[in-house]
Symmetry: C2
Subunit: 422 residues, 2 copies
């Protein structure tokens, strides 16, 4: 039996009962003969509560101190979990990110893992203990300060530890049964995905699927760690993310899932002089402000026209910073107008099957048209098509595309009919 890494999120550890339930699952895994290393997030809304406390103190708290504050959350959950496991007769030891050897750079609040030196974890596992590690946190190589890896990064801690420990699998426990073909709140007929490739999952995550942290999937792909996303509230199998679908290209659906994202906004720079290098200056200014641009569309100038419009999408939280950076360029570049729209949403089809199936775009656009959805921007990759639509039309677009690509589950319909008494 090998090493199993399990990661439990805040919703699985919401209260004392949740902690006890998770402890039972861990002990059951241990009794199967595995070495078990557990990564935990903070309980429930603890991290948000700590953030609120910081906001009461300071509008712009120093990043080093914010990291020191937020890491208290995992410290609480991991110690309680170790107690609950001990209460079941199994020894367990909790470790902070620093104690677990999670070495990062010094970028507080969004630190990157540089190395994992899991000597203490290996010793604990060798002694027969369950090792519990605080997710989301590490220690900086240069300053030995406590760092955090960014929201949702406990998944990344888990996958990185799985790689360092040469684990057989990294199980990501959450409050749903896995990753679905679409958000079940929008598409009741959405099905759980059995298998997805790393590439598909990367596209899903980048397009708004929130179940897995993007960087954790990148890490898993690089180190070839199978991820099993499943529910901590049931024993049902969840979604496997691995390279099996690439190794065994069995009969495959064209589209794996429909993702959506309401966290973006759109900026249009109208009347940009149609000269070489003007667009580059705009995007340099945004890059200097640390803003990541997602989709970009540049209109073709009208015949005889001397200016063009450039539109792009970016995270809503960066909207104000971007508008200010661009406004400062207006005298120099001489564009006419800046327009900001945060009432947009992104809908994406993702599927490795797109590579070999032509006509996906046509079918997608027909589905959108049938639902009366107007497409504002388009971008594609080898295994993804994304469109920007009006925020109010996101749900209709997702549902229509899900149906058009035969993703709707038969079983859910049966349940619905059953519910009406037939």
């Amino acid at each position: 039996m090998g090493v199993v890494v399990q990661k439990y999120g805040g919703s699985s550890l919401a209260d004392a009962q949740g902690v006890k339930r998770v402890a039972q699952r861990i002990v059951a895994t241990k009794k199967l003969g595995h070495d078990v290393c557990v990564v935990v997030s903070a309980m429930g809304d603890t991290t948000d509560e700590l953030r609120d406390l910081a906001e009461q103190i300071s509008p712009l708290p120093p990043a080093r101190e914010l990291d020191m504050l937020l890491t208290a959350g995992e410290r609480i959950s991991m110690a309680l979990l170790a107690m609950a496991i001990a209460n079941l007769g199994q020894t367990a030891r909790s470790f902070t990110g620093s104690q677990a050897g999670v070495i990062t750079d010094s970028a507080h609040g969004r630190a990157k893992i540089i190395d994992i030196t899991p000597g203490r974890i290996e010793s604990a596992l060798a002694a027969g203990d369950v090792a519990i590690v605080a997710g989301f946190q590490g220690v900086s190589m240069d300053t030995k300060d406590v760092t955090t890896l960014g929201r949702g990064a406990s998944d990344t801690t888990a996958v990185a530890l799985a790689a360092a420990l040469a684990a057989d699998v990294c199980e990501i426990y959450t409050d749903v049964d896995g990753i679905f073909t679409a958000d079940p709140r929008i598409v009741p007929a959405a099905r759980r995905i059995d298998h997805a490739s790393y590439e598909e999952m990367l596209e899903m995550c980048a397009c708004g699927a929130k179940v897995l942290h993007l960087r954790s999937v990148e890490y898993a792909r690089t180190h070839d760690i199978p991820i099993h996303v499943r529910s901590s509230f049931s024993d049902r199998p969840g979604t496997w993310v691995d390279n099996r679908s690439e190794v065994e290209p069995v009969e495959q659906a064209i589209v794996t899932g429909v993702a959506h994202d309401r966290s973006e906004s759109k900026i249009t720079v109208a009347g940009v002089p149609d000269k070489v290098g003007e667009a580059a200056r705009l995007f340099e200014a945004l890059a200097d402000a640390g803003i990541n641009i997602d989709m970009i569309v540049q209109n073709i100038p009208a015949p005889g026209g001397t200016s063009t419009d450039i539109s792009f999408t970016l995270p809503r939280v960066d909207g104000q910073t971007a508008m200010e950076a661009l406004a400062r360029l207006q005298p120099e570049v001489g564009f006419e107008q800046l327009l900001y729209d945060d009432r947009v949403g992104k809908v994406s089809l993702v599927g490795a099957g797109m590579r070999t199936h032509p006509g996906v775009t046509a079918r997608f656009f027909a589905a959108l048209a049938a639902a009366g959805v107007n497409v504002e921007m388009i971008s594609t990759s080898e295994i993804r098509i994304s469109v920007i639509v009006d925020e109010d039309q996101v749900d209709a677009a997702v549902a229509s595309a899900h149906h058009a690509f035969d993703l709707d589950a038969a079983e859910v319909e049966a349940v619905v009919y059953g519910g009406t008494g037939r």
Copy 2:
């Protein structure tokens, strides 16, 4: 200007407003030109809340994990305080006990400080930063695990750091103006003590005065660190604890203060055979159970009698353990009966002036008699007299002794008369 160590307790850091108020005080001290190292406790009732959480999980949590849990409290308060200080334009860096170099033994929950290696603190001070250190916690020398020093031990962290940094003073901030001649809730005329010697303060702490942690005073005496106990809610001077009163024995009050303690209980072992070594066996059994005995009284056997009664006091929390340990000895030692009484209180007079003033005991007992208080047990040291009385008579005993030794403040009486309109 030298180094000043300031310690702020949980009541001073109860909420965001409290944290901001403390930050202003720290920045004001820094502006006077001092290097400032701050030791913090957890905010308000955080530590008790974390203990409650642990109790919901496990009746007997592993000590290592309980320490991991409880140290989250100071992590939160120190990070918030650093933010509040930064918000006032002063740089500050927070450090865990481990980062601050607080090296302890491995006795989780009651670890002793072995050494302080404050390299990071000294670097921060040299860089002009305020250094903020988590009180109550350290890291074990052998296992590198997180340890806690016991309830109230943030005072000890502060004094130990003051010694390691060769600080000019260790200021202990609390929610009262200093140490009083008696508990003002019992004796409204109690006065703030200006100066006390280390020895007097040790006796006061050992006899129930809760303002300072006993071990912090021992540490201060060993390293000759002046302690200034004062309020974080006012700028009034507080109580100095140092060796000045020994160096300059100016005209001194006989009694410095009247302390009381309701946390003890009394056990009487009745009918112990009056043979050599029987009492020793009783106390060995208690020592083996890890119980500290305070006062002991052995009755003289009645003329011609062959047995004696032995009474002693001990912490109430140890009462059950002690009774069980003694009951197991009954067949072997052959005493007649075990009696347990937790309705007792201890009242103590403390004062270095007792050394040179005879008649203190007589005056104390006259005061107790005048108040109708029955004395059950007595013990004395060079600068202290303690009596055990009925719990219901503690207040009367304290008030009467306070008055008899001229400790009542004239000013408070004036305030009282003022209140009646005179």
